[in-house]
Amino acid sequence: MSARPNSRSRIRLLAGGLLASAVLTMSVLAIFWTPLDPNRLDVLHRLNAPDVRNLFGTDEFGRDVLSRVMVGATTSLSVAMLTVIVAIAVGSTIGFLTGFFRGWTDRVVMILNDTLLAFPGILLALGLVAVTGPHAYATVLALAVAFTPKVMRVVRGTVLSLREREYIEASRAMGNGPLYTLARHIVPNAVAPIAVLATSMFGWAILMESALSFLGLGVPPPAATWGNMLATARPYLTSAPWLSVIPGILIATTLLSVNLLGDSLRDWLDPRM
């Protein structure tokens, strides 16, 4: 009841919101304008340290790192966002239905789901991309497939505990049909855990997209993503550290802001707060 947790939550919201909007602004801005052409080669200015012309320096082909980071933000964020939307939509629909209606379908679906869960997500994604070939949409698809089973697990678990509450029985005793009960009493009460899961998955998606790109299976070059920038920066880690540090800091900042927002979202969705 004291004022402290509240003010702490407000600071989290403020910090997360500021960081996230900064990253978001950068990625939207990059659609219309970048300081220099992100893909223009300039052999004379290879591996330049940050200076006035290239604020974040240049890479091994003399391309402007600031411009590439900005364009990369657009790709990375949209890949992550699409992934989360697809995974949440598919995973929670299946999770709600199987968790609420149980029965044989639930068992079969859960066995399949557990099989999928048994593979590390990155391995699943790797396999899929190996089949489809590297492409931005292939990355989204691969990551969504890797994330969906986790969403199903969480949603189904939440539904299983919610459906035993007495207000669900009360709804039945009122004569409400099962679909109505699901939509009116189960889904709204499951929104909070799903929202928190979504924000944490957003961070994971950015990381995994980076990992795929790092392995050369993500969004193919010359398009820039934070992940493939990191990957190509590896040979120059000592000679041109800004090449890896700058995308790295951006990934970390984005993850931090998303997690802070996730925490605030959880508090905000709690009817007791």
Binding site: S2, A170, A173, M174, G175, G177, P178, R184, P188
Partner: protein, 548 residues
């Protein structure tokens, strides 16, 4: 044990105040004498638990002792270091908590948990510990004590767990026991067993008891002294008998009045047409076993037959596990029976699919035991109550709102439609649940222990509300309860259930005056029922008497 003469009280609370910015407990003083049982009485929020916890410095975070002192054998506890306090905990001052379901660690065997204190405080070797534990379990009549030591908490009932908890606390022979609502979560029969176990063990060791409770029935039967708390302040103290027979403060009198009291039973309802008739209901649950093959069926209802007539209140009474809740759920078709028939107004509804049950569902409503889980936490009161009108012939939004508001006013919550459940107290939530049940004008209301989780005075209010609503609206009621005392003022007919069977059935007065079955007699004995004392019904006489 102690070298001091017993003139010093075991525990003295001196001008104690507890709180954070605001004080929740103000200037409280009382003594617990050697070998005496002092009951600290109050409703939820009165600060009685805080006082109990402050003695051993177990207060929740950011709440602290603001003022005053706590003396144990005349010595102040405030000056002691944390290590010294820790030595007192368990060793000299034992504590038993309210929830037997969570106060034992589910991951450790009973033996391990009983041994913990002995090892820590007395440093005995394991053989000696084992003998002492077994002796103690035998002492409290636990069957097969050797096997009990190896068993885990979930294998025992709530009452049994609480007795085991008591036994392990009393193993250390503390000279002060703080028991915080030790029986509240239990049914009447187990309540009695737990309290008697506590008395036996403490009497043997000469332990003083600080019994924290809201149940005046217990105080009347078992305590020596009583201190009545209200909003953190003492309103009355004295010997338990005096406080209950001749309460001086208006608040105490209200508490005493809220106690169920034997009075003339409700006049039998005129014979009317039956609404709900159940014949030979049988129902089993599959028990949870390690493998599907080894799962057994546990039969919960054995051929139960019951008739509820229009406008009549039938009380179903039994201990936990007697199948009364299952019966209520089965009658409303929330559980499917294996055998038997349920008919509503002559039509067989036993096997009707949910879709065709709408008229039945509308006519038969339910109020659950726990008002904290029976209301959707995300919906406002108005929407919660309004939802029950969904299946009644299309209502205009305005008319619907008017009916919701009328129902809320009827249960004493006018203008609460915009509240969320967590903004309401337990009693208020139960009123909302009641409003939801009656808004569609049902013919039958199944109330599953609707007052068990409420304070005594609130229990009384909700019962009276029930009675009033029933008189006004004329619905029939199946009132499920573990407590005979609680139902006697509203039931026309009482049905006693034991182990899934109806063992006795009859008009209220007949059950109370001439119980036939042995189980009914035991239930009656365990009920904290006061005989109507003339002194209480005539408060002015007490005052003049007390002043003299």
């Amino acid at each position: 044990m102690s070298s001091q003469p017993s003139s010093l009280p075991r525990l003295s609370i001196r001008n104690l105040s507890i709180g954070n910015q605001t004080a929740f407990v103000r200037d409280v003083s009382f003594d617990v004498g050697a070998g005496r049982i002092l009951a600290l009485v109050g409703e939820s929020g009165s600060g009685k638990t805080l006082i109990g916890r402050s003695i051993l410095r177990l207060l929740p975070e950011n709440i602290r002792q603001l003022d005053g002192d706590i003396l144990y054998h005349g010595g102040s506890l405030s000056g002691l270091s944390t290590a010294e306090i820790r030595r007192l905990r368990g060793g000299r001052i034992g504590m038993v908590f309210q929830e037997p379901l969570v106060s034992l660690n589910p991951a450790l065997s009973i033996g391990r948990q009983m041994a913990e204190g002995l090892k820590l405080h007395l440093g005995l070797d394991s053989g000696e510990i084992r003998t002492r534990c077994i002796d103690m379990l035998r002492r409290i009549h636990v069957p097969r004590p050797e096997q009990c030591l190896a068993a885990f908490p979930h294998q025992f009932s709530g009452g049994m767990r609480q007795r085991i908890m008591l036994a392990s606390v009393m193993l250390l022979r503390p000279d002060l026991l703080i028991a915080d609502e030790p029986t509240t979560a239990l049914d009447t029969l187990s309540q009695r067993q737990v309290i008697e176990t506590m008395l036996e063990l403490t009497r043997e060791v000469g332990t003083s008891v600080l019994l924290i409770t809201h149940n005046l029935g217990l105080v009347d039967k078992y305590a020596d002294d009583a201190v009545v708390l209200r909003r953190g302040e003492i309103v009355e103290e004295g010997t338990a008998a005096r406080v209950i027979r001749l309460p001086r403060h208006a608040y105490t009198r209200r508490l005493v009045d809220a106690l169920p009291r034997r009075r003339g039973g409700v006049v039998a309802a005129p014979p009317d047409e039956p609404i709900l008739v159940a014949k030979g209901l049988e129902l089993s649950f599959r028990s949870a076993g390690r493998s599907i093959l080894r799962r057994k069926k546990i039969r919960v209802l054995h051929g139960v037959s019951l008739t509820v007539r229009r406008g009549e209140t039938v009380a179903v009474v039994g201990g936990s596990g007697s199948g009364k809740t299952t019966l209520g759920r089965a009658l409303l078709r929330l559980l499917d029976v294996d055998r038997g028939t349920i008919s509503y107004r002559g039509a067989d509804v036993t096997r009707q699919p949910d879709r065709q049950l709408r008229p039945f569902r509308r006519a038969c409503q339910i109020v659950f035991q726990d008002p904290f889980s029976s209301l959707d936490p995300r919906m406002r009161v108005g929407a919660l109550v309004g939802e029950a009108l969904r299946h009644i012939t299309p209502l205009a939004a305005a008319e619907r709102r008017a009916r919701v508001e009328a129902a809320l006013a009827d249960v004493g919550l006018p203008g609460h439609a915009d509240r969320l459940p967590h903004q309401l107290s337990g009693g208020q939530r139960q009123r909302v649940a009641l409003a939801r049940a009656i808004v569609g004008d049902p013919e039958l209301l199944v109330a599953d222990e609707p007052i068990a989780s409420l304070d005594m005075t609130v229990q009384k209010q909700v019962l009276e509300l029930f009675q009033r609503l029933q008189a006004e609206r004329g619905f029939a009621c199946l009132f499920i309860s573990h407590d005979l005392a609680a139902v006697q003022q509203i039931a026309h007919r009482i049905v006693v259930m034991h182990e899934g069977r109806i063992v006795e059935e009859g008009p209220c007065d007949a059950i109370f005056d001439d119980p036939q079955h042995e189980y009914t007699r035991r239930l009656l004995e365990a009920s904290p029922l006061l005989d109507a004392t003339p002194a209480v019904t005539c408060p002015s006489a007490i005052f003049s008497e007390a002043k003299r």
